[in-house]
């Protein structure tokens, strides 16, 4: 990408891979996603990739005050959303931040699809680096004092490719090796491997293409598997053992018997299943030292 001072654009500073929440999800789910990812607000996007609003900490607090964590996101979100175009300049973004009190704006492309999110901190931070008044942001903040200092938190990423059924499982296999090398306990390695493997198979059967990301720390392993597929119409039904929409050919491969999601749930301490604008997202959490 060509960059010069006149051309530092939003798409250069934004965070790609938007974490969003479905309007029909519960406030509780939104809260859990925000907490697990350390976000103070996430866009609300429906299955047709339509940006309906944003749900922020302030909205969650409102729901908490009403004792309504079970309420739907769409009832508590802020629907008047200001977006910024990916090709806008950072100067425009700074004005936007200045004029509104919001801490973050969803970034949209020319088609109006959400392609990223940009925070005030992103703009200032990258601008400072760009202008040469700061070094690359230090990672020190992120590594602040793990409770159990056995290893430094790591991020693992693996693309799940299309129509590659024979290779499906390599992502889980690599993750398993990394965890074992980090000295994670056998039971946790095993549970992570099973969950990641079933999630990979799930992508292969239903979507064919996706990405696995794992945030690994001594306290918590979060495996996020996102795919580009049809998503799930009825999530509670899909969670039921034996329910499957897989094609027969996958049954003949030993999968597709409606046990994938239940198996993941069984292996995980927490599982969030959500439809995104592109497909399906599974957030699998496994906690080596489960804190009640």
């Amino acid at each position: 990408m060509k960059k010069n001072k006149e051309q530092l654009l939003i798409k250069d500073v934004m965070n790609e891979g938007v974490v969003s929440v479905h309007p029909e999800a519960s406030v509780q789910e939104a809260k859990d996603i925000m907490r697990s990812r350390g976000f103070s607000g996430i866009p609300v996007i429906d299955k047709d990739n339509c940006l309906l609003g944003i749900i922020s900490v302030a909205d969650i607090i409102r729901a908490l005050e009403n004792d309504a964590l079970e309420a739907l996101v769409k009832e508590y979100m802020t629907s008047r959303v200001i977006t910024i175009n990916a090709n806008a300049s950072v100067g425009q973004a700074l004005r936007l931040f200045h004029n509104h009190k919001f801490g973050r704006f969803p970034v949209v492309n020319n088609e109006g699809e959400v392609v990223g999110i940009v925070t005030h901190g992103d703009v200032i931070g990258r601008l400072a680096v760009f202008l040469g008044i700061d070094e690359e942001p230090l990672d020190e903040e992120k590594e602040q004092e793990p409770i159990n200092k056995e290893f430094i938190p790591q991020i693992f990423e693996y693309p799940i490719r299309a129509l590659d059924f024979d290779r499906t499982g390599e992502g889980a296999s690599s993750l398993k090796k990394i965890l074992a090398e980090l000295g994670v306990s056998r039971d946790i390695v095993r549970r992570s491997a099973i969950a990641a493997y079933e999630a990979e198979i799930n992508v292969m059967i239903h979507a064919r293409e996706g990405k696995m990301t794992a945030n690994i720390s001594p306290q918590e392993i979060t495996i996020i598997v996102e795919d580009q597929g049809p998503g799930i119409d009825n999530i509670p039904l899909a969670m039921r053992k034996g329910y499957s929409t897989a094609a027969d050919k996958f049954r003949q491969m030993g999968f597709g018997a409606g046990m994938g999601l239940p198996n993941i749930k069984k292996s995980a301490d927490k599982l969030f299943v959500e439809n995104t604008c592109k497909g399906l997202r599974l957030i699998i959490k496994i906690m080596p030292e489960k804190i009640a």
Binding site: K241, G242, R251, Q252, G254, A257
Partner: protein, 116 residues
């Protein structure tokens, strides 16, 4: 071997209530979850051990003359599967045990080996 005697000696539960007929004889056993394999290899008179709970299993059992199906690992047949089995007179049993354990019990009871 009579089916009644067999199930009396196994850790299984009948899925629906029905008196097992005296002349229901089990000649062997087939274990399999891939329906195409079962279609290819199970023999008439085999008792079938599987985890597949889809109603297609009843169609396969009926086609191959398998008098009874045992669902293992805690799998419960779906409602349509049960209804279809009752219609076709296929006995259904379920257990929390694994296929291996049930096979081992059947083998110990002396249930015939399915010939090649």
């Amino acid at each position: 071997m009579n089916l009644r005697r067999i199930v009396g000696n196994l850790q299984v539960e009948a899925v629906y209530n029905s008196e097992i007929k005296d002349n229901t004889v089990i000649k062997g056993c087939y274990i399999g979850d891939l329906l195409s394999n079962v279609m290819a290899h199970a023999k008439s008179g085999d008792i079938w051990i599987t985890v597949q709970s889809h109603q297609n299993v009843v169609a396969v059992a009926q086609l191959l003359n398998l008098p009874a199906i045992i669902f293992v690992d805690g799998h419960k047949p779906q409602q349509e599967t049960i209804e279809k089995a009752e219609q076709e007179g296929i006995y259904l049993f379920a257990t929390e045990e694994t296929a291996y354990n049930i096979a081992a019990s059947l083998y110990s009871l002396g249930v015939g080996r399915s010939e090649k």
